[in-house]
Symmetry: C2
């Protein structure tokens, strides 16, 4: 329970273990990058940031680790950009603005948003989550 901006490797390791993830050095580094920025990062972003810091982590490990984190529920995949997956360390329910001109994502706090009138899910299905993506673009000042 550390709610300041300083996150220690031990905090990270503990968190990984809560999600049944063996906290290896690389995984801790990757998690640290994610949780210290608290933004939407692509695998490439993570790869760059991790290698900027201390350890060397290969691309394969970055991809595998992000997949593992997402599968275990430590982070969330955001599918909004057709070209790449973003990983979001914020697993609390929330939504996104997606700027179609730049591909940039911005958070929308979920407590402000209410989605009503959704039909029952198909038989035998469980809801995993609800993504609300508000697609925005620069106003028509500069449209072509």
């Amino acid at each position: 329970m550390n709610d300041s901006k300083t996150i220690t490797p031990e905090d990270i390791a503990a968190r990984l273990q809560e999600y049944s993830i063996n906290p290896t050095a690389q995984r801790v580094e990757i998690a640290r990058v994610l949780f210290s920025r608290r933004t939407h990062l692509s695998a490439e972003d993570v790869f760059v940031l991790v290698n900027e810091q201390s350890s060397r982590v290969s691309k394969a490990t970055v991809y595998n680790t992000l997949g593992l984190f997402a599968e275990r529920g430590l982070i969330r995949e955001v599918i909004a950009d057709p070209a790449r997956v973003f990983y979001d360390p914020n697993t609390a329910p929330h939504h996104h603005f997606y700027d179609t001109s730049t591909g940039r994502l911005t958070d929308i706090a979920a407590d402000k948003v209410h989605v009503s009138g959704l039909p029952a899910v198909p038989e035998g299905m469980d809801v995993e989550g609800i993504d609300v993506i508000v697609r925005v673009r620069p106003a028509s000042v500069d449209k072509d």
Copy 2:
């Protein structure tokens, strides 16, 4: 305005022209595939379906044409599956169930759904659309 299931090439051509799209043979074929199925089709799906029918259309043309259609507003891109873009001939506001185990999309009529409490969009931005994607998975009967 033809609301029966039979869509003639002339209907299609007229519709393309409403969207300032020059109705070539290939484009009409592609549009026909989309509007006669009224489902979410990937570029690959369209490619297969178009070539099953009459004319031969290359993959490049399928991709370029789908992009053109989407850009002009004739169809809508649905970004829900990290692996491929789906194209939706239904441009009326509506939402989707996304089965994460199969990648299949199902429509949710928009008139049933109400999204409230969205914050104002960032300065200088216009809302292009709101996507609500309800991610579902088979209930825990058969989980692994």
